[in-house]
């Protein structure tokens, strides 16, 4: 969706503000939000793409005015309600008023380290041959889906070149809404900065994205 998350190339946000000696978390509640989001994701009730879709569907003004973990928390609460894991009354009360819904898995301390060390790979066997090869000229499609997508606005309609073919991966656009993993070939596509930003762009600069095959047309 053309939501507030799609920030590449936006102006007016001011300088980047590094924080020397920054702690991993800035408050106790941030730790709990982070860990709850991880643990609830582990239950398998939704997937990573669904979490991202929920976060970017917050109203733009709210998204931009919120801190990172506030966004995570709002999205987590919405996800729990939308999935039927709890009711609005229960969330307001902070206690269970109805029997729990079944979940596929529960993250326990003993399995945390091995499960996170193994990771959750999202590469999949391809459904067919790759359409593009190394060096191919491609154009990022002009598309404006209202649902989740990982094709940023700033490359749409722009011409680039395939620099790597990574294999087939879970396709976020359908996976986010649980319409299937639909593995799609994934490429590194490089764009000249001038193609994206015009003659004022940094000379010789380039921007690469990781682009799923359905995002690309031959140039």
């Amino acid at each position: 969706m053309n939501g507030p998350q799609d920030l590449g190339g936006s102006h007016g946000f001011g300088p980047v503000m590094p924080e020397p000696g920054e702690p991993v978390f800035h408050a106790e509640w941030e730790k709990r939000v982070f860990a709850m989001a991880m643990a609830m994701g582990f239950t398998g009730t939704w997937n990573l793409d669904g979490s991202r879709a929920m976060r970017e569907s917050l109203p733009p003004a709210e998204y931009l005015a919120s801190s990172y973990y506030e966004i995570w928390f709002e999205a987590l609460e919405k996800q729990i309600l939308a999935s039927g894991l709890a009711t609005r009354d229960e969330v307001a009360a902070g206690r269970s008023l109805e029997p729990p819904a079944p979940v596929a898995r529960v993250l326990t301390a003993d399995i945390l380290a091995p499960r996170f060390r193994a990771g959750f790979p999202s590469d999949r066997p391809p459904g067919g041959p790759a359409r593009f090869a190394l060096g191919d000229a491609v154009i990022a499609k002009v598309m404006n889906p209202v649902g989740h997508t990982r094709l940023p606005r700033y490359v749409r309609g722009r011409r680039g070149r395939v620099e790597a073919v990574h294999g087939a991966f879970v396709f976020p656009d359908t996976n986010a809404s649980k319409q299937g993993e639909n593995p799609a070939w994934l490429y590194t596509v490089a764009f000249d900065a001038a193609e994206l930003w015009g003659p004022e762009a940094d000379p010789g600069g380039r921007v690469t994205i990781a682009a799923f095959e359905p995002y690309l047309d031959p140039a």
Binding site: G8, R32, V91, R95, A210
Partner: protein, 218 residues
């Protein structure tokens, strides 16, 4: 222990304390949600504590620094790392969630690399830990792709005009780490001394490694 809230009001939100509690609204809501989810049996507090501990104390940029130092001293390792990063990083016992599909890109005198996620906050957790606030905030995500040289200036980094910049936007599950150039004057340094020169930002591409003499462990 981690359930005792520490009165740190962190991000400066929620200034109103209500209902006779000293919790801010967001703290109260987070606490209520955790209680509910625990009671439902969806989450286990001990696992949450362990998650926090893992990313506060175990997983962090010291791991990526080991990878960089190894690549600096071992040319064949460097080749493997640049050709297929995930198994090369796993050789050092490093990997996992958020780094299942690693790509390492090497800086050269001609090309500087910088990593961003314009759409959210994708970041190579197993080698760098959780991302800093600035990496997740709009200013960096907006500007890295359109004005990388200006962003570098915000970090106090100036590159020669002849150095071209490639920005890697992490739009899928591939995760990027920069292999910075080995600093001059480090010939013969052992790996541990080299790793101490590798900063987090130098592996994101918003910084450069430290110079020898400024950060050599005793």
């Amino acid at each position: 222990m981690t359930h005792d809230h520490d009165h740190a009001h962190g991000s400066g939100h929620g200034h109103h304390h209500g209902h006779g509690s000293d919790l801010t609204p967001v703290e109260a809501r987070v606490k209520a949600l955790e209680s509910l989810l625990v009671e439902k049996g969806y989450i286990v507090p001990a696992a949450l504590d362990a998650l926090v501990e893992m990313y506060e104390t175990k997983v962090g940029p010291h791991l990526g620094a080991r990878v960089v130092a190894r690549a600096w001293v071992d040319p064949t390792y460097r080749d493997r790392l640049l050709a297929d990063a995930t198994p090369a990083i796993a050789e050092l016992g490093i990997g996992g969630r958020g780094g299942e599909h690693m790509v390492v890109v090497a800086n050269t005198p001609d090309t500087h690399n910088m990593v961003v996620c314009t759409l959210c906050s994708c970041y190579p957790w197993p080698v760098l830990g959780l991302p800093p606030v600035w990496y997740k905030a709009p200013a960096y995500r907006a500007r890295a792709v359109i004005d990388p040289r200006g962003v570098l200036a915000d970090f106090g980094v100036g590159l020669p005009e002849t150095t071209r910049i490639t920005v890697w936007d992490s739009t899928a599950e591939t995760r990027f780490m920069v292999l910075p150039m080995r600093p001059a004057g480090t010939e013969g340094f052992p790996e541990e001394a080299l790793a101490a020169l590798v900063t987090r930002d130098s592996m994101i591409g918003t910084g450069l490694p430290l110079s020898p003499g400024s950060e050599i462990p005793a």
